[in-house]
């Protein structure tokens, strides 16, 4: 992470825009407190210390950005900040087209847009159709398939 991902310009900019970043060197007590048996592990915390996302394993720059945008979108979605969530999900869809996170981003983009516009099925269906067409074998396609009888 330190030699490839974090020096990447887009990654460094993204982290500085969205996070207060803390680097933990080998530290048995903190690894115990945060339940980290393996590195690399990245945790995203709310300001109250609540864990919102956990990524285990190395992520190249492109994947790091896709996963972090998805994670922040999921956190905002759960906090019912649907506009911000949609923005993160849209970034995954538009800027990380080859990432395996795209179907999940489309799923929650559909939900976020639907929540923003009053919850109509048409909003969701238009976006979820993209999952059915482009990623028919993925788990997210199974989740939305019930709406496409």
């Amino acid at each position: 992470m330190d030699t490839v991902t974090y020096p990447h310009e887009e990654v460094a900019d993204f982290i500085q825009k969205n996070f207060i970043a803390v680097k933990i060197p080998r530290h048995e007590l903190l690894e115990q407190i945060y339940r980290v048996p393996w590195t690399p592990t990245i945790l995203i915390l709310d300001p109250d210390g609540r864990e919102r996302c956990r990524e285990v394993g190395y992520l190249p720059p492109e994947d790091f950005l896709a996963h972090m945008n998805l994670a922040l979108g999921r956190a905002d979605f759960d906090d019912k900040d649907f506009s911000s969530a949609a923005s993160f999900f849209q970034t995954v869809v538009d800027q990380h087209k080859t990432s395996e996170t795209v179907p999940e981003a489309l799923y929650f983009l559909g939900l976020s847009r639907s929540k923003m516009t009053g919850g109509t099925n048409d909003d969701r269906r238009a976006i979820w159709k993209q999952i059915m067409e482009a990623y028919p074998k993925c788990d997210w396609a199974k989740k939305v398939s019930v709406y496409f009888g």
């Binding site: 207060i20 803390v22 903190l30 980290v36 990245i42 945790l43 915390l45 709310d46 300001p47």
Partner: protein
């Protein structure tokens, strides 16, 4: 040239959480020391 990430140290977690409270940011904890 990328601007280096201003990492805080492990002793500054509380400061990082406090700083996040005053911003729209969240805290990223990076446990990525050398492979075990």
């Amino acid at each position: 040239m990328a601007k280096p990430i201003p990492w805080k140290s492990e002793s500054e977690i509380d400061n990082a959480l406090h700083e996040a409270k005053g911003s729209l940011k969240r805290v990223l904890l990076d446990f990525s020391h050398a492979p075990q």
